[in-house]
Symmetry: C2
């Protein structure tokens, strides 16, 4: 990301840091957690966007034009503007690696830095992580609904150029491992896919002419869109005629694409026609407004589909268009010590967990059994049994005798320096598959999802209740 | 938009234009219409994104890196890649100016260019126009639900940096005339707004200390967030104490912001408390998950709210996250003549209108009465009555005796040259207000919206039915 996104922030970040500057507290160290709330409807999330968040933090600086613009607002003094000119990020960031499956309230990222810096970065970090984590999660959920492969096809419906580009990246992480987006292919090395549209067919005198011309240009990757006029009466028979010619010439056709109509019925019929014509290896691709519900329904109807092209519903996360991640103060320095802070709310789910944190995942025989949101200095003796409680109904508890613990966050920035080796997108994808593989399918399915245990450690529980002042 | 978005396209645009190149038809002129379908749920739309679409077309070119990447895919020959190196847009584009209220199936943009060019630009034009038109429309609908002002506050929840930036621009066009987004303020001159968050309050020993410190820094624009601990018992009384001090010092406080709880009840109570304390001019700002339904409900409950900060539901168009605009072939050159083309579909609403088009708006006493989708060379004699039919139930008709006609599209590119004076964003906003003002409120309201008459001209009707071959 070559662009400088420093000005991509909410005005109130600047009015606040100007306030801290005037109060002389700009260097007071503060800790913020970035996490999402369970109320958003996604029982789990796939972390994505860290690489772009890192680029953003590394590039943070105000150009002269930026300072001039801020001066023109008439609310900032020259001393503060001079401070901004020198602005660099000097703090620490811990984060959950991209591709990790996480749960509500677990910190995706913790920023510990002078208030001046920690406050300024809130908006852009949320923007980047919210977006990519949303799309990676939506992609992952779609993948849970089918045994077929899913290709990301949504660029034209994405909410702007970035949404298409980084959306394709996030979809890759979540499990949709190819895209129609050429720029995403170029920038991230994702496999690009695509053949022709209805306009190709319409621009020739007949459908057969159009198919024949296409096969001539792409004899070894011939995928034909068969629904321009009539799928079963014209499209599939014409495709088979062309496939026969390809076969005679020693080429293997790739398959057909259906983009309208009853995909269950049409795919079963087309499969039969292709098989009978001697093309059992020709694949059936489908597109047209596919989402989780449609995928489940197609599976139930025994549709014969190899690859789904999903556009709008994936790239905009149409059925849940925002992750709703937040960035909340968890501790603040007083007399050289980080003092835990809590935000109380009338809505209990909006009350935050206080203090510097870590999340540990309890693994039993390699499978995830529970997560614990802990204080950062909590220690566990894994030779002793570990009891995990339901966060509200505390009489519900489970004790693990033999288990392993794994911390979810890693160090990314230390004193402003990047200390994290950024993995390749391919590695992130593999890591995501592994992370998802640690969860039984009942935790990942999209309907009647089994509730996964996410508890607070004893020390976190005690601290929270002390600060809340309840009984 | 300094970035070169040429590679922001679907692979199939490239495979198709390579196909046209191989078939020798790359210079055959084609016409495509960009429009949205009624099935998306938005009865009208506010056009936005044209300026960015123009930037995209002007900057269209392939860099050496792009050619190298395309070569690496192994499906394109050197002759074609050489052709891409020379690529420039040389065609015509007509478009509806930004801020215009339009209806489904009316062309937002018509591209007439050699097939090679007209096909390539599809994806990015759709991406840009779909996104901004979606957000401008969502903004306009929100504005219809309240007499209060709406400020765009959604950057942190936007689907990536561009979605926040161009979303703020589109929201401005639709009627939300201020934003929290500093970059949008800098780039587009939109008024920026913002004060402080809960973390500001939490970083001070008490809420009162936090308010006092804020007032000291911003004595003439003091807006206090009052719901960190308890809105009515602590927040509003503390704000009033600070406001009294400001008043004593000769300053006028701006107001308070509510961000949680029962906004109807809390705003009424806070209004009463502020009035009784002698601050009838202090404004009440609210935020917290506001959408059309909440706005209508708050109005019904006589909430006392001056300004709404709307984030997630506006910037992601959460309740309808895609416009679903499409780009369809309408005519193709044969023997020097543009021959109308139609795409037939099993879904009747997906059957296109054929031929080169214009849309005319029928105005009666300055108010919009009907639109006609016409053939580009249709002529009307406004001294004679004009009869408009319902597109399906053709026995429903209306005849206008005295009326004016206004064409909706203007020339933007002619032979690859920009021939359109791009208006400022402020002018676009004013034009949008004027365009909306031509419609009676019943056409703009969000519930039980009155159906506006959008008919086909006689010649368009005849052509379509001839091509469809129905009775």
């Amino acid at each position: 990301m070559a662009r400088n996104l420093t000005m991509l922030t909410d005005l109130y970040q600047l009015t606040m840091i100007n306030g801290y500057f005037k109060c002389g507290t700009q260097n007071q160290k503060a800790a913020f957690d970035l996490f999402y709330r369970g109320s958003n409807g996604y029982s789990y999330a796939i972390v994505a966007g860290l690489e772009q968040a890192i680029d953003y933090v590394k590039n943070l600086h105000f150009d002269d034009d930026d300072i001039d613009y801020l001066r023109s607002l008439g609310i900032f003094g020259e001393e503060f503007l001079n401070e901004l000119k020198k602005f660099r990020f000097t703090g620490d960031i811990k984060a959950v690696p991209e591709g990790t499956l996480i749960f509500p309230n677990e910190p995706i990222m913790t920023v510990i830095a002078p208030m001046f810096e920690a406050q300024l970065v809130e908006t852009a970090l949320l923007n980047i992580i919210n977006h990519q984590t949303l799309i990676a999660t939506t992609a992952s959920r779609l993948c849970e609904c089918t045994k077929g492969a899913i290709s990301e096809f949504g660029l034209r419906r994405a909410q702007g150029p970035d949404a298409g580009l980084y959306g394709a990246r996030a979809a890759y992480i979540g499990g949709c491992r190819s895209t129609s987006n050429v720029l995403a292919g170029q920038m991230f090395g994702i496999e690009v896919k695509g053949t022709h549209s209805h306009s190709w067919v319409m621009s020739f005198p007949t459908e057969y002419d159009a198919f024949e011309a296409y096969a001539k240009v792409y004899p070894d990757s011939c995928l034909l869109l068969v629904d321009t006029y009539d799928t079963l009466k014209s499209g599939v028979p014409n495709a088979i005629r062309v496939f026969n010619k390809l076969k005679a010439g020693g080429h293997k056709p790739l398959g057909i694409r259906l983009d309208s109509g009853d995909l269950a019925y049409l795919s079963r019929q087309a499969r039969k026609m292709l098989d009978e014509a001697g093309f059992p290896e020709a694949k059936i691709f489908v597109s047209n407004d596919i989402d989780e519900k449609v995928l489940l329904a197609l599976a139930q109807q025994d549709a014969k589909i190899d690859v789904y092209g999903i556009g709008t519903k994936l790239i905009t996360s149409f059925n849940n268009a925002a992750l709703g991640g937040v960035y909340k103060l968890s501790a603040i320095e007083e007399d050289g010590k980080m003092i835990p802070k809590i935000k109380v709310s009338n809505s209990p789910e909006k009350t935050t967990n206080p203090g510097l944190k870590k999340t540990v995942r309890v693994l039993v025989d390699g499978m995830a059994a529970a997560d614990l949101i802990c204080l950062h200095d909590d220690e566990f003796d894994t030779s002793k049994p570990l009891t995990v409680y339901h966060p509200e109904q505390t009489w519900k508890k489970t004790t693990f005798d033999k288990y392993e613990l794994k911390e979810l966050m890693v160090d990314v920035f230390k004193d402003g320096k990047l200390v994290y080796d950024i993995p390749s997108l391919k590695e992130i994808g593999e890591y995501c598959d592994k992370s998802k593989g640690e969860f039984f399918p009942e935790y990942r399915r999209v309907t009647n999802t089994q509730e996964y245990k996410v508890d607070l450690s004893d020390n976190m529980w005690k601290l929270k209740h002390k600060l809340l002042g309840g009984r």
